[in-house]
Each structure stands twice: as structure tokens, then as C-alpha cells.
Symmetry: C2
Subunit: 440 residues, 2 copies
């Protein structure tokens, strides 16, 4: 046993675990590139100010932050978005729009550990910047759907809950709560896990004797599941008055977006569900989460529109929408369904070597075969043929290459197919070609 352990909430990836990780990243990269997204990366360590600028001073309590040897207040990143915003802001208007970028990287949060939540996790981030209309949401959410489909999950396994922070603002404004929207949305964010009395109490603290009415109106809004119900909900709170321009514009965007999902054949994956408000105040429009249908409280991914952040970071006024998908929940979902592939390392050829005289010849061929792109292994120590064949089996090699004294006297190598045990003798100078044929 080792004297040292990894820190709580930090994982180690032995080769079998790493192979799963590589699989997740491969699918992520493959699907993101199909959508024309370009990969980028930023530092995992940034100035503490950067994260405070995005999320407020409170964020510090969840950060791995410290003072470096040069007296700088720095922090490991809890998420990628501030770095992305900084990088885009730095290039100003020089980047061709729309910017469609993705990144796969580690993030660090000092928080209480629980199932599906670690202190270091890897996240795929995908963002579209420079497009204000719902065409960006359509593109991004269809990417999100294909990303999850890419792992073999379908309509029966997951769906997207689509919501809108702007609709909430308008809805609360229509009832005269324009200055309390943030506080109220914090309550809505926890609605599902909150007993009615507690919600009523909290809302009354904000709305006074109108608390109970507000609770009823929020309850009604949360049941909205299509645009007709949405219009009705607004009519109810506005006493039947016509929609304002802002509301009409939002409903037009919703309509465009839902039509887009229809056109793409993705309607079955998307549900209007206003209970999603995403805790963070920086979202400015559509917000969404991808949910596991088997465990309704488990989000596989989440994101939304954040039109103010790039400017806040000193950049141009640039609309943006993005999401993040972590590796921990995703891997759990795949494993629970038994669809995480089993990865077995294999190589092309394992060399079985007679003795020291034959070793020199085998070494020459090993280097040449590897140079030609084959994966080849051989025993570092001389041992009996029986043991070496066991090692050949364990290596997952497709063929064993036998370097015995008899073979080498004839100028051949014996090639044994490890699947059907068939053998053939191959002249050494034809080895690369013979192996290429055999492995095809």
C-alpha cells in the first residue's frame, strides 16, 4: 500500500479507466466537429478577479484559490466560460462570426462531495458567439442532442427542458415585481425541492400580502407547456391586456426555435418547461438542461444565453449562448444502462523469441515494424516458449511472430494467427507485407 493518497474528490485514471475517458472525449470531439465547431483551450489557472467579475465575490468560497509566490490572487477555474469570454473579448471584432467553439478541460470546485459531484471534473463546453437570434439556440441544442445520441442514448433516455429567463422577467414585471426578479427566481430555482409553506413564506417576505397570490401565479406559470398556454398565463396576470412588444418578440423567438426543432425532426427531444431557471443571474434569455428520463432530477448538461458577458469582460457587445456537459454524470448514465463499452487494449503482433541470438533479429524487426505503423510488443526478458505464448495471449495481439533458431536459419519468421491458431512461414524481407495482409 502506498503512503500517499489522492485528494478527496480527485480521480486517478488507470489504463482501463482512461480508456473510458478517451471514449467520451472521442465522441464529444467527433460530434462537435460534425457541427463545424472548432476546439480551443485556455489555462486552468486564472486571476481570481476574472471569476469574481463573472459570478460575484461569493464564488470565492467554492474556489481552489490562493496567492502565488508573486503575490497574485489566483484560482483554479471552476468553469470555462470566464476564460472563453476573456479570450473572445481580447480579440474584439477580429474573430469571424458566428464563433462556434468547443473545449474539453478540467474544472475545479471546492464543494461538498456527493454522487455525481467531484472536486475536479472534466467538462465539454460548446458556445456560439455573435448571433443574437434563436438560430444559435437551434444549432447549439441540436448539437447537444446529437452529442448525447452519439453515446447510444435516444428519445426514451433523455430530453431537453427548454425555458427562458426573459419570459420570467416579463411575467414578474407584469405583476409589478421588476425589482425583485433575481430574488424570486432564486426561489423558483429550488421550487421542486421546497415544501409549499416554505415557498409561501419566502415569497411573502418579498411580496408582503401579495405573497400567496404570487405563489399561485408562479405555480400556474410552471405548468405552461406550449405557446398557447403561455399567452393565456400572461393574459391572466395582465388582466387581459394585449401583449407588449417585448413579450411578442420573445414569443416569436420561441416559435422560430420550436419550428426549427420540428424541421430537424427533433421535437420529440424538447419540452417547454419553465421550471428551469438556472441559478446564475448572468443568463439573459433561453436556458436549457438535458435530463436523464430515468432519474428526473439528474441533469446531463445545461446552458443558456448570456448576452452581456463579453462586454462586461471588456469586449465588444456580442451575444452568446453555450452549454457545459460534465464527464461524471454522463459516465454514470452510460454505465447504469450498460452501454459503456468495454475497452480491451490490443496490439498487432507479439514476438516470441528463442534465445539471445534470435533476440537481435527480433529487435531489428520490432523497430522496423513499429516504424511502419504496426503496434508490436516483445518480452523484455528471455523465457520459455510456453510463457511467451501466454504473454502473447494476454497482450491481445492479433498475431504472434515466432523467432526460433530453426526459422531464422531458413530466413523466415513463423506467423501464428492468435484467433484461429493457423501458422505460416514468412520470409523476413516480406514480413511487413505479410503482416499488412493478415491484419487487413
Amino acid at each position: 500500500m502506498s503512503n500517499f493518497k489522492s485528494l478527496p474528490g480527485f480521480r486517478e485514471f488507470y489504463p482501463e479507466a482512461f480508456a473510458e475517458r478517451r471514449f467520451l472525449f472521442q465522441v464529444w470531439r467527433q460530434v462537435a466537429r460534425r457541427f463545424g465547431f472548432q476546439e480551443f483551450d485556455g489555462p486552468v489557472l486564472e486571476s481570481l478577479e476574472l471569476f469574481k467579475a463573472k459570478s460575484g465575490d461569493e464564488i470565492e468560497s467554492q474556489l481552489f484559490c490562493f496567492e502565488d509566490k508573486g503575490g497574485r490572487e489566483i484560482s483554479l477555474r471552476p468553469e470555462l466560460t470566464p476564460t472563453l469570454a476573456r479570450m473572445v473579448a481580447a480579440k474584439g471584432n477580429a474573430l469571424k462570426r458566428p464563433i462556434k467553439w468547443f473545449s474539453i478541460g478540467d474544472n475545479f470546485r471546492y464543494e461538498r462531495m456527493q454522487k455525481g459531484r467531484l472536486r475536479c471534473f472534466t467538462q465539454l463546453n460548446a458556445d456560439i458567439l455573435g448571433e443574437a437570434g434563436p438560430a444559435a439556440e437551434l444549432e447549439l441544442i441540436s448539437l447537444l442532442i446529437q452529442l448525447i445520441q452519439g453515446f447510444g442514448l435516444g428519445k426514451e433516455d433523455f430530453f431537453i427542458r427548454l425555458s427562458d429567463r426573459n419570459l420570467w422577467m416579463l411575467y414578474l414585471e407584469a405583476q409589478g415585481f421588476e425589482s425583485e426578479t433575481s430574488k424570486i427566481l432564486e426561489i423558483v430555482d429550488k421550487w421542486e425541492r421546497m415544501p409549499d409553506e416554505v415557498a409561501c413564506e419566502k415569497l411573502s417576505a418579498i411580496a408582503g400580502d401579495r405573497g400567496e397570490a404570487l405563489q399561485a401565479s408562479i405555480g400556474g406559470f410552471l405548468k405552461v407547456s406550449n405557446l398557447a398556454e403561455l399567452s393565456n398565463a400572461f393574459k391572466t396576470v395582465s388582466g387581459g391586456a394585449d401583449m407588449g412588444e417585448a413579450l411578442q418578440a420573445r414569443i416569436d423567438d420561441w416559435s422560430t426555435l420550436l419550428d426549427g426543432f420540428d424541421a430537424m425532426g427533433l421535437s420529440g427531444f424538447v419540452e417547454m418547461d419553465l421550471s428551469i431557471v438556472r441559478g446564475l443571474a448572468y443568463y439573459t434569455g433561453f436556458v436549457f438542461e438535458a435530463f436523464d428520463r430515468a432519474k428526473s432530477n439528474r441533469a446531463i448538461a445545461g446552458g443558456g444565453r448570456y448576452n452581456n458577458l463579453i462586454k462586461k469582460m471588456g469586449g465588444p457587445d456580442m451575444p452568446a449562448v453555450g452549454f457545459g456537459m460534465g464527464d461524471v454524470v454522463l459516465a454514470d448514465v452510460l454505465k447504469e444502462r450498460g452501454i459503456m463499452p468495454k475497452f480491451v487494449d490490443t496490439i498487432d503482433a507479439y514476438m516470441v523469441i528463442g534465445g539471445e541470438a534470435e533476440r537481435a533479429v527480433a529487435l531489428a524487426d520490432a523497430n522496423a515494424l513499429r516504424q511502419s505503423g504496426f503496434s508490436v510488443d516483445y518480452p523484455l526478458k528471455t523465457s520459455g516458449f510456453g510463457k511467451q505464448f501466454k504473454m502473447a495471449s494476454a497482450s491481445g495481439a492479433r498475431v504472434a511472430l515466432i523467432y526460433g533458431s530453426e526459422e531464422l536459419e531458413k530466413g523466415v519468421v513463423k506467423l501464428r494467427d492468435m484467433t484461429d491458431r493457423s501458422e505460416e512461414e514468412v520470409p523476413r524481407e516480406r514480413l511487413i507485407l505479410a503482416l499488412r495482409d493478415r491484419l487487413r
Copy 2:
């Protein structure tokens, strides 16, 4: 301009820079797998004690270390080896030997920045554990050579300087300096950059009036370039006495290793050069560095044998040898020689869309084509055909798919080959097949 900057010594990878990074990693992975190495990964954050246990308390001055919110003394890793040793030690004897592992990951050092040296760099580590004989060095150094060859560099570009800390120990012991070896090797490590008088002064501080003689004997040893000269050097300092057993064993290992390079056809890449002692005292045998021939002081990679570390970390007594290759110097070397490829992002198809009516059809096809594995992009905003063809060009698409009202009336899509400008009309239901044919 952004209000925020990245920290000094930390890099950002915009998509063009990231493509170079991906290329380095791809070649590293491809070649390591050809040699039967398995990929693993460990956390970038570890307990401070882990790094002190390997490198001594002095290491703290170069670390990004701090106290976390739970009062733990922790640090970003300056190198991967302590984590590797911890992980191997934790599994004790359960891992099948030889263990051949590699990893690609970030490392962090708080140090003065200079050309080729940053505060965060990515390193490939490759290690063989469980094999004490020079067959492990042969396997590992032949991997190192093919790794560098994999980027298009040859004999005329780089070579391996091979040395041996054990030989130095025996050489200094033969002269009665067994208790001063570490101090003397620290001086040898800086020999090339040290004026003769300074070396003499420093050696005299250790060896008293024998300092000058020691300097001469070190100077002689540094000139050794083959096994015959090596034997002579030992004869000189031992007054012609026969070799001890330990020395004979080392010379046998050298002989086996050099014969191995010969057998593999790699002799032209390897030079015996005892000036390489590697600063770190934890090395226990062969040490080596890969050097750029163009700038003789620039090491592309370095490593050696460290047989005591796994046991020190609480694991079994397990011999080990490994090396690290950083991304910064490697990328510099490739760029200076003009052999860093230029990466241009391309996609399979860009859609040119007539109007809103045609957009719905294009969206349906975009989703279906992407689902089938094609990379497809389209304009998020409706605009004129001319502008859209420009965007198609800029996207690097192989074909443009034209969704005009005329085409859709006929139930076809016009496919324009962007290389030769040829066009054909393809029935929509045959689009996937037609695109597959065209892109083959």
C-alpha cells in the same frame, strides 16, 4: 481589449494554436501505442507531501502550492512521476509486469520564465516499471527516438546523449569520494556553463588539495565516448587494478544496451556522453537526454532509471525507468525547421439557403447529414447567395449544397464541388449517398 489577461507563463490556445497542440498529442499517442504503451492519467493537484517525498523540501520554492479550504497542504504537480509512483505503489504487485505506461498532461512550476520555459507546460511521460535490465532502457529509448522521428526529424536533427549515474558513483568512489558524490555531480551537471577556475574552486572546497587532480580526472571522464575509453579511465584512477564486480556489471549492461541499438539500426542516434548527469539525485543508473543538433544546449526530452522511488512511496521494490518530453521545446524545434504543419479547418459541406421556406428543408438535411457522420455548416442568418458562397469558401467546405426554391420544387439539391466548380443536381433522398461518393 479585454480587462483581463492570462497569468504570466500560461498560454491560451485559440483554434489555430490548438490544432498544433492536437497534432503533437496525436503523434505522441500513435507512436506510444505502437510500442504497446497504455495511457493513464492522474490528478494535477496532489498533497504537497507527495512532491516533498520525492524531491526534498527545497522543491516547495518552485511549486504552485497552497492550503485548501479544508486545511490541507496541496500543490499543483510540477511533474507526473510522483503521481505515477503513488499509483503504481497503491496497486502493489497486482499490476502485470512489465508496466509500460504513458501520459500526456499539464505540469506547473513557479519559475523565472525564459525561452522554452513556461509556468504551465504539457509533457508526455513514458515509463517502464518492473524490469531491472537494460532491455527496458532499449525499449524506452527506441520509443523516444521514434517519437521524435514521428515529427519528421532524423539523425541529422537530433541525437540521444546516454550517460550513467552509477558509473559516476563508481568512478568517484574509486578515487575515495564516496561520501561527496552528490555534491560533485551537482558541479558536473553545470560543467559546460562553468569557467575552469570556478570548477576548480568548487571542487577544492570539497576535495581540499586534491581538487585540481579531481578536476583533471573529471575532465578525462567527460571525454569518454566508448567502452574501451571507459575501461581505460577506470584503470587510470584505480592505478591499473582489475575492475570490481559492480563495475563489470555496469559495463555488461552498457554493452547489452549498445548492442541492442546496433541490432535495431539505431546506433547513429545514440552517443555515450557522460556529461549528462541529470540534476536529480533520485536517478539510479542510465540517464539520457534527446538533443537538438542545431542548438546543442537544447534538450527535447530527458529521463533515466529510478529504481528506489516506488518503494519509497510505500510500494514494492520495483525497478523503473522513464522520460519526459515537453510540448514547448518540441514545438519550437518543429517551427524553426519549418516542419510544423499548417492546419486548416475544413468541413464536408456548407449549405447555401435561398430563404426562410428553404431553410426548414436545409435544417432537416443538416441534422440528417450530421447524424450520418458528415461535417456540415450553414449560415445562421439568411443572406444573399453571393455572401453565402463566400462563407462556404471560408469554411473550407469540399462541397456547397444549394437549397434554392427552384431546386426544392424539383425535389433536388444542387451540389457544387468547391475545388472544380462542377455542379450536379441530386434528388434529396439520395443526398447522403451522393455526398459519400463525392467526398471519397
